[in-house]
């Protein structure tokens, strides 16, 4: 640069680009980002609860800054537009979304690739072990007169492999989903619902999966095929089960469009099912809170429906988004009580069995990985009663207390440390991993009581807290009664 004007302009432009975004930043933060479908970070507090300078401030400040600089949203949009217009990038950052030659979008993160290109196909040993696992679960449930229904819904790429981009090459003709589907069709002791074939056959008449509007799911038509297959399987266990058919709905063709701010758009057709009947199943949103449900389900997809017709059977349904986003309303119509939980919460099934006392447990999931995960369910008959405890309801700040909690083994199995049966102490509704173990060699037989001692319980920082006690079989389930004690700190 030779001229002073150019030099000045360069410096001014540089400083403006660095300073203006900070001046224009959202000083409070926490706004909803339309491009990211999330709330942006808030400005962090300087001080923590004890009025000391917060150790989290530094990282919180950086997160706030990264999220809230002025012009960020516009630059994200510009970046996406450039990437889409020039390079055909779809712009769904954070996820691997791929596009086929005819505009079909597929959700393809790294762990899914072996299932998409069929590089992983389970061998006979694996398929047999999964089949055996479901038969074992059916046996375990049968002890309590509960039926088992299993269903697998194929992924979009299993039904529409021809729409995958050419950068992927299918290594085997059969997918893992097809192999396990065939194996489960011949299983004993439970009913298996498979909409796989019908979803493939029907697609020549009408699309069964969303082309682009929904990156990873079936459409309403496909979902109805899935519902019918599931309920048909359930009917084998409960012959009087009411199943909704197409006659119960007024079906219209609808057009759906995905349009993004950065220029991507895609139109597709689907069916809309308008019920010709009045729905009797009603969601009860307070159910899980009432039973102190502990969940690992990030999306909080668990649901509870109650039907006015109490004579209908009761069911626990474990599945994924293929179920709770598409099927729940219709399935709930057939049951007096229906609990849905995500298979991430599989360890909660045992606890729910004692609460719901279902007639049927339905396990269903998308593709091979979900079916494999569901086959890991282990039904136990663990239960416990909290007989007494001497937790102080008022404590001195910083003072230590020992607390005795007497628990009775009301199940039909003995407890021991070898079985990893322990007492879990929750504080303020959270499981911080605090456990009281049974001493080595101690066995608590069915009907016996045992006194767990919580040593040196102390509160330093807060004015009130609460503890909850519940037994746990580590890695499997919490079980039995859960007792809560509110504590005031003086």
């Amino acid at each position: 640069m030779k001229s002073t004007t150019s030099k000045v302009l360069i410096v001014i432009a540089f400083l403006a680009v660095l300073i203006l975004p900070v001046l224009e930043s959202d000083k409070v933060g926490g706004a909803l980002s339309p491009y990211e479908n999330r709330y942006l970070a808030k400005f962090p507090p300087f001080f923590d609860e004890t009025n000391n300078f917060s150790k989290e401030f530094k990282s919180g400040f950086e997160t706030w800054l990264n999220d809230n600089l002025g012009g960020r949203q516009k630059l994200i949009r510009l970046s996406k537009t450039i990437n889409f217009r020039f390079f055909g990038e779809l712009g769904f950052f954070g996820y691997r979304v791929i596009k086929g030659p005819n505009g079909w979008l597929f959700y393809a993160p790294d762990p899914e690739i072996p299932y998409i290109v069929n590089s992983f196909v389970p061998d006979d040993v694996v398929t047999k072990s999964i089949k055996d696992s479901f038969e074992r679960i059916a046996d375990e449930l049968e002890d309590s007169d509960i039926s088992l229904v299993v269903a697998m819904f194929p992924s979009k790429f299993n039904v529409y492999p021809e729409e995958l981009p050419t950068s992927l090459k299918l290594l085997n003709k059969s997918s893992a989903a097809e192999v396990i589907d065939e194996a489960l069709k011949n299983a004993d002791g439970f009913s298996y619902g498979s909409p796989f074939n019908e979803l493939v056959v029907s697609k020549s008449v009408f699309p069964t999966y969303s082309r682009a509007y929904d990156i990873g799911h079936w459409n309403q038509y496909g979902a109805f095929i899935g519902y019918s297959a599931l309920m048909k399987a359930a009917k084998q266990q409960i012959p009087d089960l009411r199943i909704l058919t197409e006659e119960n709905f007024t079906i219209t063709q609808v057009e759906r469009e995905l349009k993004t701010e950065w220029g991507f758009s895609s139109k597709e057709i689907d069916l809309h099912y308008e019920p010709d009947f009045t729905r009797t199943a009603v969601e009860d949103t307070g159910f899980f809170e009432r039973i102190n449900y502990t969940s690992k389900d990030t999306w909080k997809s668990y649901r509870y429906y109650k039907n006015s017709d109490a004579s209908l059977p009761r069911a626990i349904l474990v599945g994924d988004s293929y179920v709770w986003q598409f099927l729940l309303n219709n399935v709930a119509e057939s049951f007096s009580e229906l609990v849905f939980i995500h298979y991430l919460d599989l360890d909660q099934v045992n606890g729910l069995l004692t609460v719901i006392e279902p007639d049927v447990v339905m396990l269903m999931g998308q593709g091979f990985p979900a079916v494999w995960a569901l086959s890991q369910l282990s039904i136990t008959n663990l239960s416990a009663e909290i007989i007494s405890h001497d937790t102080p309801t008022t404590v001195e700040r910083g003072e230590s207390y020992n607390v005795n909690i007497v628990v009775r083994n009301s199940s039909d199995q003995a407890w021991s440390e070898d079985e990893q049966v322990r007492l879990c102490i929750f504080q303020d509704g959270k499981d911080f991993g605090y456990r009281i173990n049974l001493p080595g060699g101690v066995k608590v037989d069915p009907g016996q009581e045992y006194t767990f001692v919580l040593y040196n319980f102390r509160v330093n920082d807060v004015d009130s807290t609460y503890l909850e006690y519940q037994m746990i079989k580590e890695g499997y389930q919490f079980f039995g009664e859960k007792e809560r004690v509110d504590i005031v700190v003086e």
Partner: protein, 474 residues
Amino acid sequence: MVFSSQIFLFIFLPLCLLGAYLVRPDFRKYFLILASLAFFTWTSKEALVIFVVFVLINYSFGLLLGKTRSKDTLVKKISIWLVVLTNVAFLLAFKYLPFMTSSLSGVTGVELPKIDLPVLLGVSFFVFSAISYQYDIYYNKIAPQKNLADFVLYMSFFPKLLQGPITRAGDFATQLAATKLDLDKLSRGVYRFTVGLAKKVIIADQLGAMVDLIFANPANANGVSIAWLGAFGYAMQIFFDFSGYTDMAIGLGQMLGFDLPENFNFPYLALNISDFWRRWHITLSSWFRDYVFYPLEFKRRKQKVFRTESNTLIVFFLTGFWHGAGWQFIAWGLWHGLFSSLEAFLRAKKVKAKAPAAVRYLVTMLIVLIGWVLFRSPDLGYGLKYLGVMFGLVKPLETGLTLGWYLNAKVAFILMLAVLACIPWKQWLPKYFEKMSGSRLNDPLRLIVFLILLGFSIMMVMSSTYSSFIYFKF
């Protein structure tokens, strides 16, 4: 805190520039010390304490060496050994301890206890700066720095603290004495910084995403063409990452009135490996030349056979080890050392290469590329297997992912940009650039290029923090 992070760009840098230009000139160095320590503290407070102790020890060592300069040779030698070994021990402790304990455990079969020391970013760089300072005193090239503030600033100056360029104390002290802030230097610094930022975020980071995917696969889970793409992509990524960082460091130095040394000179145009090392990470190569190679040559001057070759191998072994605690880095260093030694041998025998320049170039780049595969690999076994796939010695697994999966339109475009940016257009088209330089359009064109680079870079920086949360798969 890296130069391309938002906290650096939008908070630290403007405040630092503002402070540097507003404080009285005689207070400027104190301000820069504070800024540099704040920059370092962003990693951790513990690291800062260790760093400050390290600097103070070296300051004292410098004074000690200064006092022994007039003493007899033995005292002088003992002093420099003490000083150098202390610095090397510090480096070994903070960078190589886990590697050494795991290697020792592997050899002896005895499980050694793990010692967790704080991570000291840039430890290799500031320890080398300290050693060069002490050696320069020992060799009477410079006088010990008596002014503590000047020494602290030399050691901690934030533009060069984490990744160099490795600066010599004498050069720095000379500049510090004559630091002057002016519009010319500021604008040159801004331009250079922006070019570096663009290299980093537009080229290196974008290629890095593709390279990471390939190297995240098992070594034999990439097809031949994908393995070559990964190697080529990494060669480009590491060059634009490191040279981009250096440009930013030099630019920052200029903005604050210092001229830091150059580190790169179109390394991918080298015609042999020795030439490559004259163009790649120049300040490190010259450090090893001055403080390891020449002393070794002098010490072993009576040895006539295989002296230079073996000294070259030693230097490259150390170069590899300096880059990281892992056998893959040592293998990378020795790989380069092998060819550098061979070239030294041929030079000594006065054998001249008869192959055409194009062939020499391709062979050199192939050697460099193979080296980068070892360098990028998580361990030596992985690197060798990966190379086996590249050269058809290991049969790759079928993964179903074709070359097109990784080489999409964007990656292809950025690779093309990278290749074009590796060419010294100014040297190749001197007449055109001379003409342009004299033209009235020169400044406006440079301004436009600057604004485009700045705009795109800021867009990339801000959109890199984008994280979506779409609940379509559970």
